[in-house]
């Protein structure tokens, strides 16, 4: 490709560079700005006088004596006990990932190896399920959950999210298993393994790249969910995202928007790390469904 780049006329090259730099700025700057601002006081980050206060930190100097302050973080994590929400998120996310991967690998493997018509119909059904807006499903759960006293607990939210996650997990793992040659498990079965033994001894050791990628997306779904966690969890069991939403109602009146800003930055940090470490898997995961059909 490199010789093609050299042959590109310079005006076109300039346009391309300008465009890409613009996009990178639009995509990245909001995060940088909010992270920077989370170490300031409200008078700076939401300055009535001059937006440049957010950079110089005039009010922060006056109010706290330093150019940066951790007050927002202290307020959010300790005073408003954001750490409880963070802990809940951890429990929910890990359980959702583990359970949906366990169910998903079994189902996805079966779908990939079946070759029967009904497997295809099941996949189409999963696609339809994937399209259901989550809130319409939640409005179906609420009443029965209230009646049976299941509402408000972490396990309820976990199993609901696993279910909502299943169609996607099935599709993705299905296409990964299609890439593992059939001969592998079939030769194991010729050697006398049952289907499950072949799966456990031959397929499980080679399936990890696909499982890791799918796991990442399950993680994102559970971590980013607002609909299910906001409606199915009680105040005490709230996870991070609904907690941040509830900050908005209460803190804006108290003049503590900075708590919410700090909480937002804290909740975004793990996602940054995730992208940094797993960029390749995320990209390949986004494209497997598309490129391979």
């Amino acid at each position: 490709m490199s010789e093609i780049i050299h042959r590109r006329p310079w005006p076109l090259n300039t346009v391309i560079w300008f465009f890409v730099l613009c996009w990178v700025f639009i995509a990245g700057f909001p995060f940088l700005w909010t992270m920077w601002g989370s170490f300031k006081v409200q008078g700076d980050f939401f300055s009535k006088a001059d937006w440049a206060y957010a950079i110089s930190g005039v009010r922060t100097q006056v109010e706290t004596g330093g150019a940066f302050t951790g007050d927002g973080y202290f307020g959010a994590w300790i005073t408003k006990s954001f750490w409880v929400a963070a802990l809940n998120t951890m429990i929910v996310v890990i359980s959702v990932v583990v359970i949906s991967l366990t169910l998903g690998t079994l189902g996805g493997y079966a779908l990939a190896r079946s070759g029967k018509k009904y497997a295809f119909y099941l996949l189409m059904l999963a696609l339809v399920f994937r399209a259901m807006p989550h809130i319409t499903l939640v409005s179906g759960y609420l009443l029965p959950f209230f009646e049976w006293n299941l509402w408000g607990h972490l396990p309820t939210a976990i199993i609901v999210m696993v279910a909502i996650n299943q169609p996607f997990t099935l599709w993705m793992l299905h296409s990964f298993f299609l890439n593992i040659p059939k001969d592998l498990d079939e030769s194991a079965m010729v050697d006398g393994c049952t289907r499950f033994q072949a799966f456990r001894r031959v397929i499980v050791p080679v399936m990890w790249p696909g499982v890791v990628t799918t796991g990442l997306f399950s993680f994102l779904l559970a971590y980013n969910d607002f609909t299910v966690t906001a409606t199915l969890l009680s105040q005490a069991n709230q996870t991070m995202v609904p907690k941040i939403a509830s900050f908005l109602g209460t803190t804006q009146t108290e003049g503590n928007v900075m708590f919410a800003v700090a909480a937002v930055v804290s909740a975004t940090a793990p996602l940054f790390l995730l992208v940094m470490v797993f960029q390749r898997q995320i990209v390949s995961g986004l494209t497997t469904g598309a490129v391979k059909g």
Partner: protein, 343 residues
């Protein structure tokens, strides 16, 4: 694979999907046919220093009892569907006969909550989806022609708007666009209007939500297109070059046709996801100027004015029908494509 083995492998996954996706769709429908009980009233003799009066009070005990006996509420048939908050059939008929022209009729229709939400949801879906495709394609072309060492970091930054929690991503933009935030004050300075506030104007709120939607989803289209660009056959490109095709012609006649299946895929995912737009409305507190179907269901369930299962159910059923209509063309296409391959 034997049917029996297949059954046992798929069972756990199928059970969760039936229990928590298929059944709720059914239960939502049943709910939508019922309506909350009216509070049971009783007359109480209230005697004070100035004589006795008959007062009407809510009979709490009886109300609770009737609620326990029939938690679903009273059977209402399709009443909820027809009332003002949903399809509003009688209001529509009235507006139709009263309005001298289409404009009047549409503006009256827009005042009904369900149609208001539908209008925004559809606008959002059909504006964001094509723009996401276009922007994603441009970014993919741009990044693809960067020198190799810049590609990785660019992709990293590009992924961020998509990976971040929608509620959080929209909050971050909302804070910047706030009249006291950086973008808000920039805009005030640019238009020389110190009172300019994006929150106050419905049109600007719509634009803001749509911009958020594009910002959030463009990376997805970008990544998919970018991966597609890696698989464009170089032979064909070279052949086109020998035949004297210009850069634009090569993109138009070789690269674009190669990416058509990806466009279908992105459209499918984007239509599904944009149709359930919800979080940005919460973050932007935009409900005064823009509501979506998902938002009105949420408001019925957790809006603070009580829970209205019947109303939420009816809107949910209508939303599901909307999704079905939206999906049918794409589903049919996928159906045809897969039929050859899988079976």
């Amino acid at each position: 694979m034997k049917n029996r083995t297949f059954f046992w492998f798929i069972l756990p996954s199928l059970v969760t999907m039936i229990l928590f996706i298929a059944l709720p769709i059914g239960s939502v429908f049943i709910q939508s046919l019922h309506i909350e009980h009216v509070a049971v009233l009783k007359e109480v003799k209230n005697c004070g220093p100035f004589g006795c009066k008959l007062e009407v009070q809510i009979d709490v005990e009886a109300s609770v009892q009737i609620k326990e006996e029939q938690p679903l509420g009273k059977f209402n048939g399709f009443g909820t569907y027809k009332n003002r908050n949903h399809l509003a059939t009688s209001e529509l008929a009235l507006a139709w006969s009263d309005s001298p022209n289409w404009g009047k009729f549409l503006s009256k229709t827009y005042n009904l909550p369900f149609y208001r939400a539908l209008a925004f949801t559809l606008t959002y879906t059909f504006v964001v989806t094509p723009l996401v495709l276009l922007l994603g394609f441009c970014i993919a072309l741009g990044v693809n022609s960067l020198p190799k060492q810049f590609k990785g970091p660019t992709i990293f930054v590009s992924l961020l708007p998509m990976i971040v929690t929608p509620l959080i991503g929209s909050l971050i933009l909302f804070w910047m666009i706030d009249a006291e935030g950086i973008l808000g004050s920039m805009l005030q300075w640019l238009f020389e209007d110190p009172n300019l506030s994006l929150k106050a104007s419905p049109t600007l709120t719509w634009i803001m939500l749509i911009i958020y939607g594009i910002w959030h989803s463009a990376p997805f289209a970008f990544i998919v297109f970018y991966a597609g660009l890696q698989t464009v056959p170089t032979d064909t490109i070279e052949a086109a070059m020998i035949d004297g095709a210009s850069r634009l012609e090569r993109t138009r006649y070789v690269v674009l046709p190669h990416l058509v299946p990806l466009i279908v895929f992105i459209c499918l995912i984007q239509l599904m996801d944009n149709f359930r737009v919800f979080e940005p409305i919460v973050s932007f507190s935009a409900q005064a100027s823009a509501t979506s179907l998902s938002w009105i269901i949420y408001n019925d369930l957790a809006g603070g004015e009580g829970t209205f299962f019947g109303s939420a159910g009816a809107t949910s059923v209508l939303t599901i029908l909307g999704v079905a209509v939206l999906l049918i063309p794409v589903l049919l296409r996928t159906w045809r494509d897969f039929k050859g391959k899988v079976v």
